[in-house]
Amino acid sequence: MNMNTSLINNAFFVALRHMRAPLIFLVAIFAISVGGLVLIPGIDAEGNPWRMDFFHALYFISYTATTIGFGETPHAFTDEQRLWVIFCIFLSVIGWAYAISKLFAVIQDRGFKQALTGQRFARSVRRLGDSFYLICGYGETGQLLARSLDHLNIPFVVIDIDPERIDELDLQDYLFDAPGLVGDARLPNNLIMAGLTHPSCVGVIALTNDNFANLAVAIAVRLLNPEIPALCRATTVDVAANMASFGTRHIIDPFEKFAEYLALAIRSPGSYRLLEWLTGLPGTELAAERVPPRGRWLVCGYGRFGQAIVRHITREQLDVTLIDPKPPSRETALPWILGVGTRAETLWEAGVNGAVGIVAGTDDDINNLSIVVTARELNPNLFVVLRQNLQANHELFKAFDSDFTVVPSEIIAHECLAILTTPLLSRFLAIVKRKDDVWADDVIARVSAVTGTLVPAVWSVTLDSRQAPAVAETVRRSAMGLDSLMRDPVDRNRQLPCIPLMVVRGAEDIEIPEPELMLREGDSILFAGMSSAHQDQQSMLGNINVLNYVLFGTEVVGSWLWRKLTGAEAGL
């Protein structure tokens, strides 16, 4: 904390330290000038000798030194006095010139500028009253996430090592001014300045393209503010394991994630469909997707992405043929074709005709597109999985109609959002991944009964005094069923368009709970439905009067005085 305050006061002290010499010089000049004027004898209009006093001397020097020029007061000067005044004028000009040049030098000083921007940044972070997220790394993923957070009205602070990206932050049309710091996220001081230890900081998201920087952030969060969650991107198994050992709660590996989803889609299309549905953008139509077929797959590019894919889909008992220009770096028993998948010969050799699917997973976008175009020509029925590395190539990838497009930055951003906005969702998704198609189809049927073909909004409610004070108080004193939370506060006979997906009670998960379930204080409930239902529900969670109506169907008098006057019941 001490470190922090000294950083904040830095700019002011740097300026003061540099201005010390010129200020003393000015004081000395004034003192000498005034002293001289007082000492030199003068003659007034009547010829009487007079001496200037300090008051008039200071008055005269003040306007002479600031080059205003005002004449000679209180009497005309003698030549001796004028000689002294000439000296004073030149002296004071030198003094001002020195002081002003020094001041400009200080303002131009790099250290001073840095201190000033740092100070401004720290001040804007300190002013953030609402809970905010700290985003380390403002690359493609960071920007995507920042836009989504802004859309959800959640403030955030950004650190990036590249000044151009922080400049870009100012150009974006965000609803509020997001503070941005140019600095290395590996340095704990920068993280502290960006609000890591700020009481309103509710989470840190490390998305830099440097695995070790993300690891350093994870460690800093663990040690400096262990209360808040850290979401970290990791693209190697080693770093992910290291992060996990530090208690990092959410480690996001986009390749691993996608490979897992692809395997799930092959194994259980229904579960995958449900998962897609729950993590999609609320309010959009759900696109019909092809189910990845079982059979022999070709995987082009056996890098980190290819390895993750192969690891997951071989578990589904699929045959895989690898295509890579380099011999395998890790031992693998799979058939291997040396070469680049962009050439038809290589694809023939790998047996593209007998294959059912192809994964174009190299780290070069143009090669990936070339692979899938060539492969589709050779076998039009191929199921195509395409990896897009750069957001800038989005238009090209949109033009090619692939069955799956993997955009790592989008996967990470979606995952972060899902974790941040509805923490229960990832818990539910873990359940979905274990379940079979029949169960998933049943859930889909229930959800689509209220939302149709639209992607549902997903939200969670915790019955505590902060999120749902009215309900928490009620369930402490009397029984209340889950169905009450789904009644329309305008007309209690109507059902809100939402369904509960899961109730978390302590360590216990109750999947797809019955509406008759009795609520307890501290329960967390995950809902899916129309976003309008979410808003309606909010009104009854906090307002005891609305809750009274929903439970008993009577309007309850709110004020104590009115109750006394009318003798009305207090309800709950």
Partner: protein, 127 residues
């Protein structure tokens, strides 16, 4: 020997002594308190104050604070003196002199605190 310390010590002590020189004497006798000494005290105090700019130590901050207090009091004394001599109809009455001198007395106290701190700092530094 540290030249910075010499310069700073010099100005702190000089500020206190000049202030004392102006202050001493009967409080309402104008001829006991020479205005040049007040002027010199103000100048030296200003320099002592500026010398502490940018010092980020705790004791430096207190030094700056006491110097600022002394400067403030001395300038108030100068203003009171100027007002009595030029603006008030009565001129430099014993009452006006007394208020000028008592203001400078306040500054003297601040200056004495500065000197005390200077000594304390030196004693604490066992070098």
């Amino acid at each position: 020997m540290n030249l910075e310390k010499v310069v700073f010590g010099f100005f702190i002590v000089l500020a206190a002594t000049l202030n004392f020189g102006f202050f001493i004497g009967e409080i309402d006798k104008p001829h006991h308190h020479h205005v040049s000494e007040l002027f010199a005290a103000i100048v030296v105090n200003l320099i002592a104050t500026v010398l502490k700019f940018g010092d980020r130590t705790q004791i430096g901050a207190i030094h700056l604070a006491t110097s600022l207090v002394a400067v403030l009091q001395l300038i108030a004394a100068a203003v009171a003196w100027g007002y009595a001599v030029y603006m008030s109809a009565e001129g430099l009455t014993p009452g006006a002199t007394a208020s000028v001198v008592s203001l400078s007395g306040g500054a003297l106290l601040a200056n004495l605190i500065s000197v005390t701190m200077l000594i304390a700092e030196t004693v604490m530094l066992r070098r």
